[in-house]
Every structure is written in C-alpha cells, then in structure tokens.
C-alpha cells in the first residue's frame, strides 16, 4: 500500500517548488525512498536512471496519477509523456485546446494559433495527427503543454521515440520555450540532460534514492559536445554505470 504521502509544495509557485514526499511502495515492494527536491522557476532538473528504477513513478506521483499521490500540485502541473498522446480524432488546434475544453473554459484560439506558429505548425492547425511525422506530432504535444501555462512542467522521456536529429532539435526548442518554467525532466539520455538541465540527478537503489551528480552552468540549450560539459557527462555516465552494475 502506498503510505499516506503528502507532497508539500511551497505555497507560492513564483518562489519555486519544494517537492517532497514520504516513501512509496507498490504493495510490499518498496519503490521510492522519501525524497525532497527544490525547483526554482526557470530551472530544469533532469533525473536519470536505468529502466524500472522508479523515476517514472516519482513523476507520476507528482502529477497525481498514483493512488496516494497528492492533489496538492493539482492545477499547477503540465504533463508531457513519451507518447505524444494527441487525440487522433481532433485537429492539431483542437488537441492544443484540449485542456481548456476539458475544464469547460472559453477556448483562446488566438493564443493556441500563436503557440502552433511558434512551433512551425501554423499550416497544420487543421490537420489530423495521423497525417504528421513523429517530430511534428511531438511539437504539437509541446504546444499543448505550453497552452496549459502551468508553472511546473513534468516531462517523462518526451523525446525518446524520435530519431537523433529530430530529438536534438526538439530538445533545443523545448528548452527555449520552457525557459521561464520549473521543469522536471525524466530521461535516460545523458546528452539530453546536458543540453537541457541545470542540475542532474541519478536515481538508483531499492527503494530508489535521488543523488545529485552534476550542476551545469551556462545558458540553455547547450551543445552537449562542448568540452566544458565533458566532466559532467563523464560523471553522469559513471554514476549510471555503477547503478547499472548494482542492479
């Protein structure tokens, strides 16, 4: 059973988020150790780990998608998953407006079109998702995430289904467009972390614990091949390698 977990975000989102929670377990299998993580506005924190280490569980817990997850963050979170989750029967414009429609609010078509335009999708606003490439679909998913206009953005390996070139372009685009938000990015790609994140954590162990591995300086998005990033990249690889060997 999940222990009663009360995530305690700070009352004012403009001051950033203090994300903390008690241990989490599926039945008798411990998954997460108690955790605490501070996130400032405009800061991106990347969490890396091997498959099944519990990093997605942490994200889903914060998003309120797990039993015992707290509603404390409800209304402050936008969610971007590995799949684009575009509704196939809606045009891109209607997909971007989905959150507004589900909440019964007045749809701001102008703002949605502006966002689609910033992502180079103006000409496809009326197209169905199935007619678009994977990269365009993920750009539309990013537009939908931005339309939600939430201070905290949770991203669960959002670009892992894209090819290498498209992925790099998407990482840069997302990093630029999310510059003023607090972003928690779960990924398995050290280069993605170096391109987009200010701080990098590795998650390992059972129950899983977060360990800060690197603090990255300089404006985002970065070129992960910059020589200054090499030590951080090495440290992340080393941390992942030891956890990989341990499990």
């Amino acid at each position: 059973m999940p222990l009663h977990s009360s995530l305690s975000p700070s009352p004012t989102p403009s001051a950033g988020f203090h994300l903390a929670g008690p241990a989490f377990a599926y039945g008798h299998h411990p998954v997460l150790a108690p955790f605490a993580l501070d996130l400032a506005p405009g800061e991106t924190v990347a969490i890396l780990g091997t498959s099944g280490c519990g990093k997605s569980t942490l994200l889903r817990l914060l998003a309120g998608l797990l039993p015992g997850g707290s509603p404390a963050l409800a209304g402050q979170v936008a969610w971007m998953a590995q799949q684009d989750l575009l509704l196939p029967w809606c045009s891109l414009l209607d997909n971007v407006l989905l959150g507004v429609r589900l909440r019964g609010e007045q749809p701001d078509t102008g703002r949605a079109m502006t966002l689609l335009g910033r992502l180079g999708l103006t000409d496809w606003a009326d197209a169905f998702p199935a007619t678009l490439s994977g990269g365009m679909r993920q750009r539309a998913a990013l537009a939908r995430t931005l339309m939600e206009d939430r201070p905290l953005v949770l991203m669960d390996e959002p670009f892992s289904s894209l090819d290498a070139i498209t992925r790099a372009a998407m990482q840069s685009l997302a990093s630029a467009l999310l510059a003023d938000r607090a972003v928690l990015l779960v990924t398995h790609d050290p280069a993605e972390a170096c391109r987009m994140a200010d701080r990098v954590f590795v998650m390992a162990g059972r129950p899983a614990q977060l360990k800060q591995i690197a603090v990255l300086e300089g404006p985002k998005p970065r070129d992960p091949l910059m020589p200054e990033l090499l030590p951080a990249l090495r440290a992340i690889h080393a941390a992942l390698a030891t956890t990989g060997a341990a499990t």
Binding site: R60, A63, G64, L65, P71, A74, G75, V77, A78, W79, A81, Q83, L85, L87, P88, W89, C90, L98, G99, R101, L102, R103, G104, F128, A130, T131, E148
Partner: protein, 257 residues
C-alpha cells in the same frame, strides 16, 4: 471501375446458373420459378411490394434506432456503475443464449399484430451487439489519454463528464461503429421473424401469404426486395460510420501513400 462492376458480374453469373438449373431439371414454377417469372411478378405486384417494404423498413429503422439507443444506455450504465457490472453483466450475456425465435410469439401476444411487436423484436436483436461493442470500446480507452486528461483537469470531479464526452466516448466510436454495422445486418432478421409469427403487413408477412397460395414467384420477388432493403440499410450505416470516423479513414489513406 472494374472493381465496382465485379459484384454485378457475379450476380449475372448467379442468375444464369439459376436459369440453367430451372431449364436443366425442368422444375415447375411453383418449386423454383425462372428469373424472368420473378421479374414479371415484381413488376406486376410493384405497388403491393413497395407498400410491404415500407412497413418492413420502418420496423427495421425504428428497431435500429431504439435498439442502438438502449445499447448505448446499457454500455454507459455498465461503465459508470460497478454495481451494474456485477449484477447485470452476467445476466445480459446469459440472456443471449435465449433464441429470439422463441420470444417472438410472446412479443406478438404482448405487443399485438401491429408494428410494435416487430420493433421490439428488432430492438432485442440489435441491442446486444451495440451494447457489447460500445462497452468494450469505452473500457479500452488509451490509459495515456486518460492520464493526460486527469492532469489537465486536476482530477476534479466536476470535469469527469467532459472527459467521458471528449475522450472516452470519442475513443469508443470505432468500436461503436462496428457494433452498429452488425446491428444493421441483423435488424432485418428481427423484423422478419416478428412478421412470420404474426402480422398483417410487411415483406415477411407477404412471403408467408404467397407461400400458402403457391405464388412462389411473388414469394421470390418479396425475398429479393427484402434483400435489397437489408443491403441498403447496411450500406447506409456503413456510410454513416465512415463519415463519423473520417479521421480514421484519413489515417489509413496516409499510411498507404
């Protein structure tokens, strides 16, 4: 163009075969009338057959409408209420073991010789495929879409109905469409069985009458009109569901290009 003509050519072949059987075995018209005799009967009794067809089509359409509505209500009820799933679902499935034929006399007894008993009959046949298909579709909504919707609405209860409308029901439309197509295919069965058991009008009633009077050519004519009605109903429902699922048709088109 050739693809469109193909079923027509097959039909011509079957008509030739029919004529050949009649000629070869020298069958009397009251056993198997030749195609031209049936065609003549169709022309001779055109007014009568059209009148009967109107009755049967009305029964099928109303049965389809009410049966589909009832099926939708049942599917939604099963989705929303765990109690309904526990108490009603096993009974619903078991009820399908009862042959509808066996119920027809009862329905005529209760709802009379008029249209009502046939509509109820058609409803009973149509209700199940629609309910099962829609309920299945509603349960199989992509978990990712529902999670996204929950994060967007903050899991607030006042938004659940909108999630049902905008996500769950829309996602279940393909399943509903295939249920509706099965329903359209069985609707004539319901209507005609009702007419056989007890009726004063309709194509099924006319077939029995013609049979009793050894008007085999008229019986065949009524049968052909019935078949045409059934095909037309199916084609109409198929076209409707294609329109409803335009986005899906588009995705097929793009995957082939």
């Amino acid at each position: 163009m050739i693809a469109r003509l193909r079923p027509l050519l097959t039909l011509c072949g079957l008509l030739l075969l029919w004529q050949a059987v009649v000629t070869l075995f020298a069958l009397p018209p009251y056993i198997l009338p030749a195609p031209h005799r049936v065609a003549l009967a169709m022309i001779e009794h055109a007014g009568l057959l059209l009148g009967e067809a109107a009755v049967t089509i009305t029964e099928m359409l109303l049965g389809l409408l009410f049966g589909a509505l009832l099926g939708c209500c049942a599917a939604l009820g099963l989705l929303v209420s765990a109690a309904a799933r526990r108490w009603l679902l096993p009974l619903l499935i078991a009820s399908q073991a009862i042959p509808v034929f066996a119920l027809a006399p009862l329905l005529v007894l209760w709802f009379g010789f008029g249209m009502a008993s046939k509509i109820v009959m058609a409803m009973l046949v149509i209700f199940f495929p629609v309910a099962v298909a829609l309920y299945d579709g509603l349960r199989r909504t992509d978990a990712g879409w529902l999670e996204l919707a929950r994060v967007m609405t903050g899991d607030a209860p006042q938004h659940r109905l909108r999630i049902l409308l905008h996500v769950r029901l829309r996602a279940a439309l393909p399943a509903f469409a295939s249920g509706l197509k099965i329903a359209a295919a069985v609707a004539p069965i319901g209507a005609v069985i009702g007419e056989w058991v007890g009726a004063s009008a309709g194509l099924g009633f006319r077939m029995l009458q013609a049979n009793a009077r050894v008007q085999t050519d008229l019986m065949f004519a009524a049968l052909i009109v019935l078949a045409l009605c059934a095909v037309a109903l199916y084609a109409a429902v198929d076209a409707l569901s294609r329109r409803m699922l335009r986005w899906q048709a588009d995705s097929h088109a793009s995957s082939h290009s």
